[in-house]
Symmetry: D2
Subunit: 158 residues, 4 copies
């Protein structure tokens, strides 16, 4: 869709460049202690440890933080092609509770991309056991990722 970063680089390089650019501005993901384990075309893997401040009285993780990790993985995956893409709709099924101290891993993969619309699935697990399954719908809003980062204050790219 854009001539910019996509055309002169491999799809792997585009994914890394988009991730680097996003990460630099992403106060939220950094403040939550997220870590990017890998990105590729249509994929992203992030990690985050459940801290005391992310829990309720039972020592189990508030769903908002599990969602936030999945949502960030989704954002890195759906922006990996170099075009600015935002979340339009997400759903999450909570399967088992996350616990204080768990190192959560979110793995995002592209299920579908057609026109400006995409579907991405994210599995959140701890020690190899699934905690939650997330599905996100994305919409590409135009412009290359890098240009838009500087100029599109309206877009939501976590």
């Amino acid at each position: 869709m854009t001539a910019g970063i996509a055309s002169v680089r491999s799809s792997e390089e585009t994914a890394r460049l988009a991730a680097d650019t996003m990460w630099a501005g992403d106060n939220a993901s950094r403040a939550l202690g997220m870590e990017i384990l890998g990105v590729g075309p249509g994929t992203a893997t992030l990690a985050m440890t459940v801290t005391e401040a992310m829990t309720n009285g039972h020592g189990t993780a508030h769903g908002g933080f599990i969602f936030a990790l999945a949502d960030s993985a989704f954002a890195f995956a759906c922006n990996s092609h170099g075009d600015v893409t935002v979340a339009s709709h997400c759903d999450i099924t909570f399967i088992r509770p996350g616990k204080r101290g768990d190192r959560l891993i979110a793995t995002a993969r592209e299920v579908s991309r057609a026109g400006r619309s995409g579907i991405y699935d994210v599995r959140v697990s701890a020690d190899g056991v699934t905690i939650a399954e997330f599905r996100g719908m994305s919409r590409t809003v135009g412009g290359s990722f890098i240009e838009a980062v500087a100029s599109a204050p309206e877009s939501r790219t976590p």
Copy 2:
């Protein structure tokens, strides 16, 4: 379902008592600066201000924090009847970006409650403009809220 707190109190009192008990243990909602504006039978209204640490480079809120606020409002609403109830599935549609400094208001209402299953809708708005629409499915897991808080480490009640 439980004889405990529900039987000897009005439904309004039960909702307030459940909320107080939940809030006392809810590190996550407090750490995010949430504030309970009101609770009632099947309803809850919470507020949260979008801080710098909740944003990406554009000054727009990471979807995870918008979700977290809605999810907390959902939790207070679905636990307002005094029985321990957990989230099983949630979805959220992002309509407009939240911005740094926005005071977000999440208003949860009960759409349906049948057997152990419930549906709750939460609207998140800023200055009266809708930011996101959230729908949560809940499942009552048994026991009164207060007893379960002490004894059910598996349940996810944010």
Copy 3:
């Protein structure tokens, strides 16, 4: 968005005209025995009786037909403003089974409309008892409804 049918008619008239035009071409809704009980700006109410051919061995309705009724109500509601609008994403929660002979009523209402995107909720009930809750996301694809009916073979307007 369109000057056509919307500008010279009341919003009620636009809703009725859009519904008439859609209904004329909607083999599917007619073949299922649906009936339009009412349409208005952002709203639609449809009825359908659960026949033998819509059931499984228990005499309970296949979820596909409950969904179809809700989806049609959604379609009439989201097209009621006169602009061609298609479903992009729908979800449904099954609360109680529908039974053979039930006259199902689906009531759609507009939850949000911003830019080209809309959210519509549909409750499906039988004898005043809720059977299912449906939420649909729509996208306006451009052109007035009437012109597009004739010229846009790609659009999905049930």
Copy 4:
């Protein structure tokens, strides 16, 4: 969960037996011209051709029929383990329109199964091109499939 059909048969045989039993009572899927192409533990593949009666004026399939096919594939997959399992929540994203005459193929796979809850994804395609992506949440309601078919009029197993 049940000693019945599951314990004395291979998981493949259990899946086939459950499918045969369901199919015998499933007026709806048969009336829509569905065909079972395959079932296995946690999986099912069904086909259905889009007829004139399933379309609107554009010759495109009403979303309800696409959903119905996906929902049936989901039902066969989530009941394949031999325990009666019903749909609690489903969502579908429409990616491209189905057209009159298309032979739609729905392929269901198990994403997660924990306790009584399961998640199943179904892709609906025509000529190898994805038409829709469906995700279903299931709940096992107890009893073996075969016994429950005879005795549980409340359960929704399409």
